[in-house]
Symmetry: C2
Subunit: 140 residues, 2 copies
DNA sequence: GTCCAACCTAGAACAGTTCCAAGGGTGGAG
DNA sequence: CTCCACCCTTGGAACTGTTCTAGGTTGGAC
């Protein structure tokens, strides 16, 4: 799969310094950053990036389908650049860590479709990660 | 299943007028209201209910496990009183309508568990409801 | 080099939710 | 029945995440 930056250029997207930095932050697997994470990491590279640009750019990437947006229980949106491979998520309910996982899509029986046209399915496995599980043991 | 109000009373929960009204709003299947919906519906019955009480009460109900909280794509939390029966959700991506549906839980292969202790799984079927589907046809 | 459109910035505005201090109502002890 | 302590409720302020706005900047075509 070609790098994100190349795909953006071939779409005719104007590749400014700010957008390049943001696109570079949005790279990899198991990456599920908040807008604020992106803001801070971008700032570390290019200090004059503004918050508005981060939000604008993330929303454009989502609109182009280059990044997935997901809504987390804490109300903050997370952005996931791993769009090349269908996957679901495994979330630690204690620390909020998120991993990409492969699992079969659940099927919706015809009688349960209520006449809706199915477009896709999102699956989130709620779990406790090893670190948090051992922390629970040691305090009980 | 006993009514929500009865279950609350048997927990020794102080059943004030405000709480009773809120609990009555939170009844039924296919109910996925926002805090603001609850606020307005409660007000229609008991005009002096405050927003803070609605939030306090909803959070307590969630803490007791009598109501499920779900985070919607628009950022507003929804509250679902249908906790008696395991179910998933079918959401219209255009109008946001939500229905409860029965479907098998997807399984997470052992190799994908990354050592996490599995607690549950949330499934959201993204779809277009009949009303929105016909609206799309008529405008294209 | 000039110009235009697209882009970026800082800060204001906004929406949803939580926090806070003060007042009010209720259940239980006496 | 009375009283008190405590829990509950209230309105508004505060907070957080996100979007909007007005104006300044930049890149690329010519």
């Amino acid at each position: 799969m070609t790098p994100l930056v190349d795909r953006l250029r071939s779409r005719g997207w104007r590749l400014t310094a700010q957008r390049r930095v943001i696109a570079e932050v949005m790279t990899g697997e198991h990456v599920h950053v908040t807008a604020d994470d992106v803001f801070e990491r971008s700032r570390a590279v290019l200090p004059e990036v503004s918050r508005a640009t981060v939000y604008n750019t993330l929303n454009e990437l989502v609109g182009m389908g280059e990044v997935h947006e997901m809504t987390h229980a804490d109300g903050r949106k997370r952005y996931d650049p791993n769009v090349g491979e269908r996957h679901h998520h495994l979330v630690c309910v204690d620390c909020g860590r998120i991993l990409d996982v492969r699992a079969d899509d659940p099927q919706l029986p015809g009688v349960e479709r209520h006449g809706f046209e199915l477009l896709g399915v999102d699956v989130t496995f709620r779990a406790r990660c090893p670190d948090c599980a051992s922390a629970v043991l040691s305090t009980s």
